[in-house]
Symmetry: C2
C-alpha cells in the first residue's frame, strides 16, 4: 500500500513490489493473481470498515437522533482513517481505470449516498441549519475528514481522539467564538 501511494498504482509494477518487499515476483504471484488483486484486498480493508461504520449510523433502531448519529459517524470515520490510513489513501486516489477500481468507486458512492441521507435527516429533524444544500454539506463535511489522509500519521503530534474532537467541533459548532457571534 505504501509503494502504491508513493509511486502511484498505475506506475507501480509487480517487479517494483517484489523489490520493495525483498521477494521474487513469482513469490507474489504464488499468493495473488494480479496487481489488481492486491489493490482490491487493500481497498477492501478500508471499505469493509467504513461500510460497517456507516451502516450502523444510518440504522436508527435505538432511537438516537440523526444529528447524534451523524456526529458519531464523523468521529468514527476519523478513527477508521487514522487506523487504516494507507488503505483509505489508496481508496481515495482510485481513478476507475480497472474493474476493481470501478467496483471500489461504486462502494464509495454507496457510502456517500448514505451519509448525504443522514445529513438530510439531521436537517429534517431541525438539528442542522437548513440554509445549505445537504449534498454540499455532506461533501464538505467528509471532505474535511478525508483530507486527513494527506497529513495524518499515527506517530505524529495528534492522536485520533484529538483529531476527531477537532473535526466534530469545527464542523458542528464552528471556529468563531460563541459569545462574540451572539453579541
Amino acid at each position: 500500500m505504501g509503494l502504491f501511494n508513493r509511486k502511484g498504482y498505475d506506475a507501480t509494477s509487480i517487479g517494483d513490489l517484489a523489490a520493495e518487499l525483498g521477494v521474487t515476483k513469482s513469490a507474489i504471484y504464488h499468493h495473488f493473481a494480479s496487481k489488481e488483486d492486491l489493490l482490491r484486498l487493500a481497498m477492501d480493508d478500508a471499505l469493509d470498515e467504513l461500510t460497517m461504520v456507516v451502516s450502523a449510523a444510518v440504522s436508527d433502531t435505538d432511537g438516537t437522533s440523526a444529528y447524534e448519529r451523524l456526529r458519531g459517524v464523523v468521529r468514527r470515520s476519523v478513527e477508521v482513517l487514522a487506523a487504516h490510513q494507507p488503505a483509505v489513501t489508496l481508496l481515495l486516489r482510485v481513478r476507475g481505470n480497472t474493474p476493481v477500481e470501478v467496483e471500489a468507486l461504486k462502494r464509495r458512492r454507496w457510502l456517500d449516498d448514505q451519509l448525504a441521507g443522514l445529513v438530510r435527516a439531521a436537517i429534517a429533524e431541525g438539528a442542522l441549519r437548513d440554509d445549505l444544500s445537504p449534498d454540499l454539506v455532506s461533501r464538505l463535511l467528509f471532505g474535511m475528514v478525508n483530507s486527513l489522509v494527506e497529513w495524518y500519521r499515527p506517530s505524529g503530534a495528534n492522536d485520533p481522539v484529538t483529531v476527531a474532537d477537532a473535526v466534530t467541533s469545527i464542523a458542528f459548532d464552528g471556529l468563531s467564538r460563541r459569545p462574540q457571534r451572539s453579541q
Copy 2:
C-alpha cells in the same frame, strides 16, 4: 493537466500526451524541455495564484482583523480552486519524486505556514476559539477547502460563490442550529 490527473503524472509519458493532444512527440519537445517542465508550468499556474491570495491575506496594512482576513482567504482559496481545478489537483497530488515536485512542495509548505500563522493571529485576537491546536485547525480548514478538487466541476450544480459561502459558514459558524445549541 487532465491526462496527468486521470492517469497519474508518473504513469504518463510524452507519447501519451502527444496522442491525447493529437500532435507528435517532437512538436511537444519543440516547446517544452521535458515532461517535468510541463508539470512545473501547470503547478505554477495554481501556486502563483495561491501565493498572491495568501500574501495579500497575511499583510494587515489596512487594519482588517486577522479573523476577517482568514475568512477572506478561505473564500478566495475556494475561488482559485474552482477556477484552476486541474492545476490545483496536480499540485495536491504531487509526491516529491522529482526536483520540480520538491520545489512545489516547498512552495506549498510556505503557503501552509502563512495560513497557520493567520489562524494563530485570529485566535490571539480572541475571534477564534482557543481550545483547538492552531496547526490542527489550519490543516482541517484548508483540508476542507482542498477536498473540493475531488468533486468540484465548473459545469456542476454549485457555483463558486455558493461553495465559498458553504465552506465559510460550516468552518466558522458550524452546522448545528444556533438556537438549539444555546438552549
